[in-house]
């Protein structure tokens, strides 16, 4: 008697086999839909339902995530990210209205709100960003061409970002997505001639600034000195001017003290004032 025939006669084997069958069917009809995903149920090529579809303003409490039961094997459950996704564009060269060229990085935030349309048009979740990237690039170019270069620098122009977002959002609906935000990360001069030119301009400005600073310093210093001299002269004049003749006498005494030293010959006449008393009275 074969092993198989013997096993088939025993209820234990039947129970085990049934258990395995149940498990396989269960695995084929249960899907876990995480909080971060929404699901499209496709039965034999036709969509029949959605699970945990994203709704605006819905928090985690209202979600339908979790274990989801469906028909086994004939139903295909496709999981699609329901979070806000993003993609980046880098080093996009844009021409501006005044003939300038700007190199910009930009990013876009989007969400797949209609997973069925997304699957029909883009085919897969990852392809949406691929499809939107060139659209973002052309929207940027179109918006930049309407504005002067200065408006693009630093991502400071909200109008430009808004224009680009509106255009991109319109295009994204075709793929079952909504673009919620577009921002310019950086916008600068393309490397090369334009940057060199700007740097030369900055250098000239700074050098001129240095000359101005030096001139101002000289002028201020000279002014202080001149004022100091004038103030001192006034002090002298106020004081010595009280009696110019006496000042002359005073100053001469000081000078004689200083200049008449050894080696100088001084000739004294007997009529001099100094010797008047020496001669013996008047």
């Amino acid at each position: 008697m074969s092993v198989l025939a013997r096993s088939m006669r025993q209820p234990a084997a039947w129970i085990a086999g049934l258990l395995v069958l149940i498990l396989v069917v269960a695995a084929g009809s249960l899907t876990v839909v995480p909080e971060t995903r929404q699901a499209v149920v496709i039965r034999l090529g036709r969509p029949v339902g959605f699970v945990n579809a994203w709704r605006p303003g819905q928090g985690v409490e209202g979600s339908d995530a979790g274990l989801f039961a469906h028909a086994p094997f004939v139903d295909r459950v496709v999981l699609v990210d329901r979070r806000m996704l993003g993609f980046e564009l880098q080093d996009q060269e844009l021409g501006t209205a005044d003939g300038g060229r700007v190199v910009a990085d930009a990013y876009a935030r989007y969400r797949i709100v209609d997973p069925l349309t997304m699957l029909k048009t883009a085919g897969a979740e990852g392809k949406v960003a691929d499809a939107l990237s060139p659209l973002l690039a052309s929207a940027l170019r179109a918006a930049a061409a309407r504005r002067p270069a200065a408006a693009l620098y630093g991502g400071a122009d909200e109008g430009l970002a808004r224009d680009v977002r509106t255009a991109l959002d319109l295009a994204a609906r075709h793929f079952g997505a909504r673009v919620t935000d577009v921002r310019i990360e950086r916008a600068g001069l393309p490397p090369g001639a334009a940057t060199e030119h700007m740097i030369d301009r900055m250098r000239a400005y700074r050098e001129q600034q240095a000359v101005e600073i030096a001139d101002n310093g000289d002028r201020e210093a000279a002014g202080i000195r001149a004022q100091a001299d004038a103030d001192a002269a006034k002090i002298y004049a106020d004081s010595y001017g009280k009696d110019p003749e006496f000042y002359s006498f005073y100053r001469s005494m000081q000078s004689y003290r200083k200049t008449l030293t050894t080696g100088t010959a001084v000739i004294l006449s007997p009529d001099s004032d100094y010797l008047r008393e020496f001669k013996g009275g008047r």
Binding site: A12, V33, P34, E35, T36, G59, V60, G66, L67, D81, R83, M84, G86, D105, R109, G154, G155, D181, R183, I184, E185, R186, A187, T195, I199, M202, R206, E207, Q209, A210, I213, A214, N216, G217, D218, E220, A221, I224, R225, Q227, A228, D231, A232, I235, S239, F246, F249, Y250, M253, R257, L260, T261, T262, G263, T264, A265, V266, I267, L268, P270
Partner: protein, 345 residues
């Protein structure tokens, strides 16, 4: 001696039965007969239920060591593994700076506060631990090498920027469920915020005087943007690591700094000169004024006093000559040189 019965005993027989050659149940408390073939020792297994199971297995197989092919051993092993698995994956320790987000079969089932918690075992419940109070840092801008991160200022200048964004997870549920790749998003939004702020400031403000204001403004901008995305992130602050003129202009900026220093030095020297001149004037005129007051009181006497004071000081130093009468010269001390000249023929 292969046991031809199934795992539950021969058909019709009760599971508790069995023994060697149908002699009845073996006393489970005695030593089992020694190992026949197969020296493998059974692994030590804990749990009284487990022991009971093993005892039954031993009974069934007549005290032989269960071999890998015996189903009893397999059942016991699987059950014990399951128990261990349940124990390990049901208990979670959440550190004080963490929160644990529980997902039951994919669905959000609550957030665990710090402490020891029990949940359903994996794969039913999955706990993702997130650091909530810990500050993460995102560095932006080249901090090494010569690649520059140039931003444009309001006065048409370029600044080489390097800065760090400090942030922490404020809302673990939002952080996990609302955005994909939130860390990347922070970097992108930070560049936008910082450059917007720099574009509104002058080059001097960004490189020197108002750097803190620029950083704070950028941090506020960034927080507003991230809130708009429901990122669940709080920006703690932005620290500017470097805000310098482009490398090509470094020397020019040094020239400017030099010029400022030189100009300040000149002005300081002039001020010192002014002070000195003023104090010199003050002291000299004070001397004169004192003397003048005395002169006013007694003019003649003061003049004579001044004159003779001067002579007292000067005459001893000089070569004096007194002329007594026209043509006659009488030298006094110190005038030896003159006398000698006269004496020469």
């Amino acid at each position: 001696m292969r046991n031809e019965d199934g795992p539950w005993g021969a058909g019709g027989r009760e599971p508790q039965g069995g023994g060697e050659g149908g002699l009845g149940p073996r006393n489970p408390w005695t030593e089992p007969p020694g190992p026949r073939k197969g020296e493998r020792r059974r692994p030590a297994l804990t749990g009284s239920a487990l022991e009971a199971l093993l005892r039954r297995g031993r009974e069934r197989f007549g005290g032989r060591l269960p071999e890998p092919r015996d189903r009893g051993f397999w059942i016991g092993g699987i059950v014990s593994l399951l128990v261990v698995w349940v124990l390990i994956t049901s208990f979670h320790r959440i550190d004080p700076e963490e929160r644990g987000v529980v997902m039951r079969l994919g669905r959000y089932a609550g957030t665990l506060a710090p402490g020891l918690h029990m949940t359903l075992p994996a794969p039913i419940d999955r706990v993702e631990k997130l650091p909530v109070e810990q500050v993460s840092t995102t560095e932006i801008g080249a901090s090494a090498g010569d690649s520059e991160n140039l931003a444009v200022t309001s006065d048409g200048s370029l600044v080489d920027l390097a800065y760090a964004v400090r942030w922490k997870i404020a809302d673990p549920e939002l952080y996990l469920f609302e955005n994909k790749a939130t860390d990347d998003l922070i970097r992108q939004a930070a560049e936008n915020a910082m450059r917007s702020q720099v574009a509104r400031a002058t080059s001097d403000q960004v490189t020197g005087t108002d750097q803190d204001e620029v950083a704070d403004g950028a941090a506020q901008r960034l927080q507003a943007t991230l809130d708009g995305y429901h990122a669940g992130v709080r920006v703690v602050g932005i620290a500017i690591r470097k805000a310098a003129p482009p490398a090509a202009l470094a020397e020019t900026f040094r020239t400017v700094v030099d010029a400022v220093q030189k100009a300040q030095a000149k002005v300081s020297a002039a001020k010192v000169y002014a002070l000195q001149a003023a104090s010199k004037a003050e002291s000299e005129t004070a001397d004169f004024d004192k003397l003048y007051d005395q002169y006013r009181l007694a003019p003649q006497v003061t003049r004579q006093r001044m004159y003779f004071d001067m002579m007292d000081e000067v005459l001893p130093r000089v070569d004096r000559t007194i002329v007594d009468a026209p043509g006659v010269t009488v030298p006094i001390t110190g005038g030896s040189r003159v006398a000698a000249d006269e004496a020469k023929p």
